[in-house]
């Protein structure tokens, strides 16, 4: 009898205390999430009315809105509701933190120059990924940029004239292609590769209100 009372008491109190434990983390991982997680950082940005961007993962079709958290120089950092960030530089995808393959940073200046100007050519780009062994691994790709001609893009209820640029990249073991819709030298919509884990991500900056 005492043993059963002890078991009941324990089940009620298990996990209590100020010390973290192995079982907490495992239970959290294995239990199904009961609803969308929204971090206070994101709520704060919503309250301030930060500009937003439509973000989607092409292969799975999942999409949603991310909000601009910080601008420093040419870098913009966008925050997802559950606390992951996407860093873009002049519209080119630069890094992902908390999302997918651990893209730490990139060097895309050559691609950007051609894409913005509408010219075709061959460029090199670099991507640094976080390996499973916590090392930063930099990969370089050779890319061919082509101008695919004018396209009309539907934004809200307007039609914007844009120029479509395609960039096809490869190295010894990986290959991908990116698409950019350019209007007045700015990337207004794009589909860019984020790494092997998630694949291509589509981005479109929203007009200045959500």
């Amino acid at each position: 009898m005492n043993r059963y009372l002890a078991i009941l008491a324990f089940l009620g109190l298990a996990g209590c205390g100020t010390q973290p434990s192995n079982s907490d983390a495992l239970v959290e991982r294995l239990s199904t999430r009961s609803g969308p997680v929204v971090v206070p950082r994101f709520v704060e940005l919503q309250r301030k009315g930060s500009p937003g961007m439509q973000l989607g993962i092409v292969e799975s079709g999942v999409s949603g809105t991310v909000l601009l958290e910080q601008t420093r120089g040419a870098f913009k950092t966008w925050l997802t509701p559950d606390g992951a960030t996407i860093v873009t530089k002049n519209g080119m995808l630069h890094g992902l933190k908390g999302l997918g393959a651990g893209l730490l940073a990139s060097k895309t200046s050559e691609s950007l120059a051609l894409v913005q100007s509408g010219q075709s050519g061959t460029v090199t780009r670099l991507h640094s990924f976080l390996s499973g062994n916590d090392e930063a691994v930099t990969r370089s790709f050779t890319c061919i940029v082509e101008n695919k001609g004018p396209r009309n893009l539907a934004v809200g209820d307007k039609q914007i004239p844009t120029m479509l640029m395609q960039e096809t990249c490869r190295n010894l073991s990986q290959s991908f292609f990116n698409l950019y819709w350019i209007s007045n030298g700015d990337i207004v919509q794009s589909r860019q590769w984020s790494g092997d884990f998630l694949g291509a991500i589509s981005m479109r900056e929203l007009p200045n209100s959500i």
Partner: protein, 701 residues
């Protein structure tokens, strides 16, 4: 929108899809059905297999320790093998070692040499030379020469007999009786008749393959006991690999014995979600904007206190507990305790970001000192301008690593933040305790509630206790008692488990301190572990960027009562060791401890672990002392394999916790070491330069 979680919902199971197919034999090693091949796993991979053939079940753990070498530990059950003894089943432990001499090339097969069951009880004892070649995309052919159990059928005179007559006959491996098990029977390696074996695998599609082999294994010991009936040397089987990496096989051995197998290969160096699930770090804000931050404005002398408070709450949000802040003329130093980040370099990066986003613009040098229980260990200094330059640099991880200054930090904290001490922590959690290899029951368990509490009145001094209350289990019902000829310092484990009420696992006062540069000290007194209480003192010399650390420990302990309350038994002993720890690079760590063990025996323990940066650890050790093998008893000397899995690898979220197990084939009394919490090397190595550099890829993450 649940962008992150839903997009990876597909991969929510605990497993990672393998990049290539690896096929495991029923013996748990790369191979065909019963036969080994010359193949190996990818470097660092672990393979887990359970297979059943007729009356035999084999559970195997294989680790590819080096690109060409793998080792195997196997625990098998053969039902009704030993009728009349215990429950009649034979529980057999065996070890394998395999070395790939040459890799496969276009016009040459792969060659390998291996030892199967070398040094166990010898049921599967065999050696082999194997060659494997793939033809096209689908066909893999293996052929080889076997000795021992792999030469029972079609054996011919040993070709090695041409070198020496020594190889012509094979001695009976189990002739020495149970007390000689555990010794390496290299006296019988490659001796006796040899026979050919061979087979082929045909890959039908991405997931399925069929296997055919010609096996010289007659299962003679099993057949003698009526447990097997081998009609033909041809074995045939089918493998299917599921999307999540689990492999399922079905096969027929000898035309008569049906078998099935489940296997799984995992790569500890690959995380489930490579970038990790932790929240993104705070983005660096423009430096000048901080001049206007409210806590940085000089008004009515309140600015300092507000700065500390803001730092404290921001660091707390990153899982770092702030215990000291010192800011003057362009330099800032914070002293933190890392409670969250298993990769310490990531903790350093997060702390640096908080400093850069909080301190007034004129502060340039940012110093983060990591503490353990209030005792400083290492200082990581970065220049604030470097952070801004490198945050988004494609080579930022490497550049920040080369610019950071990592030094020993042994000066005591001059003044702690108010509220830092005294501290009180407690936790109530379930525990699971496992005990292996009792011949009557291979795995025994105990579950229950564990209460741990700690009180720290000041830095370095901790009063703590762990209490356990078992609620269910079958360890206590084991009937075998120790037959050890030595003082029973460990082999009475069952008697301790039989006391099934409240147990004081430990109750100690512990003092950690820094005697000087690169030196660490520890003194612990009280009930140190389940079976012993007393006094323990340790000193460690460990320079911040050294691969070598040297320490010495001395203990005086008395054996505790079986009920694990406050009483003691009469036996007491002084033990101590001198230890050398060496980081060999590439993740290999060696450790040698030499000294006096609990039974009064003198000797040394040799351990080698392979560690991955994410915290995975697989290793093995053995201890040789002046206790003769016969006196030690079954197993001959203490040895074991151990592994640790970081919880963050399973959950994807950062954590400092690990779960692990030491598997000792036999627990006896020779070479037994006292267990004390917070031995210094384990406590300090995470913050020394080598470990910090290992994880620096995550600095900006």
């Amino acid at each position: 929108m649940k962008l992150r979680a839903s997009s990876i919902g597909l991969l929510s199971c605990l497993m990672v899809s393998p990049a290539q197919a690896e096929f495991l034999s029923s013996f748990g090693t790369p191979g065909l059905i019963d036969l080994p091949s010359a193949e190996v796993l990818n470097d660092g991979e672990l393979a887990l297999t359970t297979s059943t053939t007729g009356a035999t079940t084999k559970n195997t753990f294989t680790f590819q320790m080096l690109p060409r070498v793998y080792g195997t530990f196997r625990y098998g059950t053969i039902r009704e093998f030993d009728l009349g003894v215990g429950n009649g089943n034979r529980y057999d432990r065996s070890f394998d070692l395999h070395f790939q001499i040459a890799e496969e090339r276009q016009n040459r097969p792969a060659f390998a040499i291996g030892l199967r069951d070398f040094g166990g009880t010898g049921i599967y004892s065999s050696e082999y030379l194997a060659a494997t070649k793939t033809f096209g995309n689908r066909l893999t052919v293996t052929g080889g020469l076997g000795w021992g159990r792999l030469a029972e059928r079609g054996g011919f005179d040993n070709p090695l007999g041409a070198i020496s007559d020594y190889f012509d006959d094979r001695p009976n491996v189990s002739a020495g009786g149970i007390n000689t098990t555990g010794q390496l029977d290299f006296g019988s390696w490659f001796r006796g008749d040899a026979a050919f074996f061979g087979g082929a695998r045909w890959q039908v599609n991405d997931r399925m393959s069929v296997v055919l082999e010609y096996s010289p294994d007659l299962y003679s010991r099993e057949t003698d006991r009526g447990l097997a009936n081998i009609k033909t040397p041809i074995n045939a089987g089918v493998n299917y690999k599921f999307r999540n990496g689990v492999g399922l096989s079905a096969y027929v051995v000898g035309g008569n014995e049906i078998g099935a197998q489940l296997s799984y290969v995992l790569d500890p160096a690959k995380r489930r979600i490579p970038g990790g699930l932790e929240q993104a770090p705070q983005v660096l804000v423009p430096r000048e904007s901080l001049a206007a931050a409210s806590w940085n404005l000089a008004d009515s002398g309140q600015s300092d206190q507000n700065l500390s408070q803001v730092l404290q709450s921001r660091l707390e949000a990153e899982g770092l507990r702030l215990e000291g802040v010192f800011v003057n003329s362009g330099n800032a130093q914070i002293r933190v305790e890392n409670n969250r980040w298993g990769v310490e370099a990531q903790a350093a990066g997060r702390a640096a970001r908080v400093l850069a986003n909080t301190l007034p613009p004129e502060i340039e040098t940012l110093e983060v000192i990591f503490l353990h229980k209030g005792v400083p260990i290492t200082s990581v200094k970065t220049q604030r301008s470097d952070l801004y330059d490198l945050e988004n640099d494609y080579d930022g991880a490497w550049r920040s690593q080369s610019r950071a200054q990592i030094q020993d930090a042994n000066a005591r904290t001059p003044e702690f933040l108010t509220g830092a001490y005294p501290r009180f922590d407690w936790g109530l959690n379930p525990f699971l305790s496992l005990s292996y290899f009792d011949p009557d029951n291979p795995v025994r368990y105990e579950v229950g509630a564990e209460l741990s509490a700690g009180y720290q009145p000041t830095a370095g001094l901790t009063f703590s206790t762990t209490l356990r209350y078992p609620l269910a289990g079958n360890i206590a019902t084991a009937t075998r008692r120790s037959n050890s000829g030595l003082q029973r310092v460990r082999s009475d484990g069952v008697l301790y488990a039989a006391a099934s009420d409240l147990e004081i696992r430990d109750l100690t006062a512990e003092y950690l301190f820094r005697p000087g540069n690169d030196l660490f000290g520890r003194v612990t007194a009280g009930y140190l572990e389940q079976m012993y209480g007393g006094l323990s003192a340790e000193l460690l010399w460990f320079p911040v960027d050294s691969k070598l650390a040297i320490g010495g420990e001395i203990n005086y302990v008395k054996q505790r009562d079986y009920d694990q309350l406050f009483g003691f038994r009469p036996y007491s002993v002084a033990t101590g060791h001198v230890s050398g720890y060496y980081d060999m690079g590439n993740g290999f760590h060696a450790q040698i401890d030499a000294g006096r063990y609990l039974a009064g025996d003198w000797g040394a323990t040799f351990a080698l672990d392979r560690e991955f940066n994410n915290g995975w650890k697989v290793g093995a050790y053995f201890t040789l002392t002046d206790v003769p093998f016969e006196e030690f008893g079954e197993g001959s000397f203490d040895k074991g394999i151990r592994f640790e899995i970081p919880i963050s690898w399973i959950s994807g979220k950062p954590s400092r916790d690990v779960t692990g197990q030491v598997i000792q084939p036999v627990v006896r009394d020779g070479g037994a070491r006292l267990f004390v919490k917070n031995r210094l090397y384990g406590v300090t190595r995470d913050y020394r330069s080598n470990q910090l550099h290992n994880g620096w890829g995550r600095y900006f993450r």
